[in-house]
């Protein structure tokens, strides 16, 4: 069984992002980039499924500039078998990403596509669901546990009130939540091995996908700053302020 793992290159989660002075976006020049943490969880899950004998091959795919090859090498170092870069210099929005992934999925015929529930840059939380829709496949989003047997998957999902478990037929799309697993540390020998693994590069045009953005970003601003920082000396003072100044308690 083949697993497809789409991964996105994003600003590292430790970086404090800064809005560009001209309001066109956030500063990404000379900023540390990494694999989207949710996608790292997706890679890890795929590798565990392979280690458990459920999967036989893992194909990682990324969409974006040449530098996404680094992200794919990380996926290969975690344990993906080969990688595909869909190379483009333009901004690719979730619907276009899903269309590209559909083409790749049709070519590769995976039984499962596992990817992060959202990317931590645009926080859209759309791609997996859109891909499932375009393929006509079932979806299990926000997964915290994945069990696969007999051509079906049972997935426990993180939902607002707690957990729910759904049964889905394969092929299917699964999106990962934080508690699905803890990704392994990538070791040096595996990084070296990853350099030798196959990485193919294609263009969106080769796949016949129109990636023209549907949403136009008019401006990007910093949110209003909160005026905090006031300290109280005691619980008594806190109670007094909450009651008489903020009127937040009766």
């Amino acid at each position: 069984m083949k697993i497809l793992v789409p991964v996105k290159r994003v600003v590292d989660y430790n970086v404090k992002v800064r809005v560009k002075a001209d309001g066109t976006g956030v500063e990404t020049a000379n900023v540390k980039m990494s694999m989207n943490p949710f996608d790292e969880i997706a890679c890890e899950e795929a590798v565990r499924l392979k280690e458990n004998g459920v999967a036989t091959e893992i194909v990682a795919v990324s969409i974006g500039p040449t530098q996404c090859q680094e992200t794919l090498r990380t996926a290969l170092a975690i344990g993906a078998d080969r990688a595909i870069l869909v190379e483009t210099g333009v901004e690719v929005q979730p619907l276009a990403v899903a269309k590209i992934l559909r083409k790749i999925a049709e070519k590769e015929s995976p039984q499962i596509v596992i990817l992060g529930k959202q990317a931590i840059d645009d926080d859209s939380n759309q791609t997996g669901q859109m891909l499932a829709a375009l393929l006509g496949w079932p979806q299990a989003t926000f997964a915290s546990k994945v069990k696969i047997a007999d051509g079906a998957a049972e997935v426990t999902r993180e939902v607002d009130g707690g957990l729910e478990t759904v049964a889905i037929k394969l092929p299917a799309v699964v999106t990962t939540d934080l508690r699905l697993n803890e990704p392994r540390y990538v070791t040096l020998p595996n990084i070296m091995k990853a350099k030798k693994k196959q990485l193919d590069v294609v263009k969106p045009e080769d796949l016949g996908v129109d990636v023209t953005p549907r949403l136009k970003t008019l401006k990007v601003q910093e949110p209003a700053k909160r005026k905090g920082g006031a300290l109280v000396k005691s619980v008594d003072e806190l109670v007094d302020k909450l009651r008489n100044e903020a009127k937040a308690i009766p």
């Binding site: 859209s124 989003t141 909160r226």
Partner: protein, 309 residues
């Protein structure tokens, strides 16, 4: 053209998040319709009809809508989409699950998690965990939008008397089914609609120590939340989590206890009206956003606070 809000409900009543989405719909303009897809959902439909400012309630009652599975619900919404300028749902785990599926089937973009309506085609949404706000314009013929509930006041749940119209169910795609649910039982209010929230972080030290927060929460009629660090440490279940990867809340009063204030946590609570922080580390970033910070031992301060309220 009308705006369709897809209701979140439990067949008997409407979930509060729907009311915030109705307000967003009213800001867009045009008549507001509500879709209630459920099974034996007459109670929810009747409740939807009472929401102030709603022009029509459409009800699809079929066994395969008993639980909002993305595959079934998306197929229904797509079948009903004709004639609407906008399709809206609250950005809850349910809305986030099925709405992108609707958008893709209609071949349009989705605008996720809007916090403001600038015009019928232009919306403001947070990106980078709320560290930046993007104003985006959609050129699609129908706008598929999820609404961050904290960005909009709740519409009044009473006062309306919209007509209720039955619509036919779409075929059951039969791709998925619900196996079971493990919902956290709590007598306290839900996090996303609570007026007061008491949250604990890694500083709580253990799950048992959340007892002192629960005592404070009970005194205040508050919900109990947690930071991702507390969830990752196994102190409390994930549905307690407030932050970029958990729930986004904006209560009247947010009391952060033993929470350092990582960016990802702040993203989920910084729109609260009043923020109180109790932490022994005076350098903790949470104090930068707190209206009232108390540097001290939470194991003394919290019980004392509970007693003095």
């Amino acid at each position: 053209m009308a705006v369709l809000v897809i209701a979140e409900h439990d067949n008997a009543s409407i979930k509060p998040a729907t009311l915030n989405a109705v307000t967003a719909a009213q800001k867009i303009g045009g008549p507001v319709h509500i879709l209630v897809a459920g099974s034996g959902c007459g109670g929810a439909a009747a409740a939807a009809a009472k929401i102030a400012g709603v022009a029509k309630v459409r009800v699809a009652d079929a066994p395969h809508y008993a639980h909002p599975l993305a595959e079934s619900l998306a197929a229904l919404v797509v079948a009903l989409a004709e004639g609407y300028s906008h399709l809206l749902a609250p950005a809850t785990t349910t809305g986030k699950n099925f709405m992108p599926r609707v958008a893709a089937l209609l071949d349009v973009a989705q605008i996720s998690d809007i916090i403001a309506v600038e015009s019928p085609d232009t919306f403001v949404r947070p990106i980078y965990a709320g560290n930046a706000l993007a104003t985006v314009q959609s050129s699609d013929r129908v706008k598929v939008v999820t609404v961050r509930t904290t960005g909009f006041d709740a519409a009044k749940g009473e006062g309306g008397s919209a007509p209720i119209e039955a619509v036919s169910a779409a075929p059951d795609p039969g791709l998925s089914r619900l196996v079971g649910q493990e919902l956290t039982k709590s007598a306290r209010p839900e996090l996303t609609s609570a007026r007061v929230i008491v949250s604990g972080g890694r500083g709580m030290g253990s799950g048992e120590n959340f007892n002192i927060l629960e005592a404070l929460a009970d005194k205040l009629g508050a919900a109990v939340g947690a930071s991702r660090a507390a969830v990752d440490s196994g102190f409390v279940p994930n549905d307690y989590q407030v932050g970029q990867t958990g729930k986004v809340v904006a209560p009247e009063l947010y009391i952060a206890v033993g929470i350092s204030g990582a960016i990802q946590h702040l993203a989920g609570m910084k729109d609260s009206k009043v923020i109180v922080a109790i932490n022994k580390d005076a350098e903790a970033p949470i104090f930068q956003v707190a209206d009232y910070g108390l540097v001290g031992d939470l194991f003394q301060a919290v019980p004392e606070l509970t007693e003095k309220l």
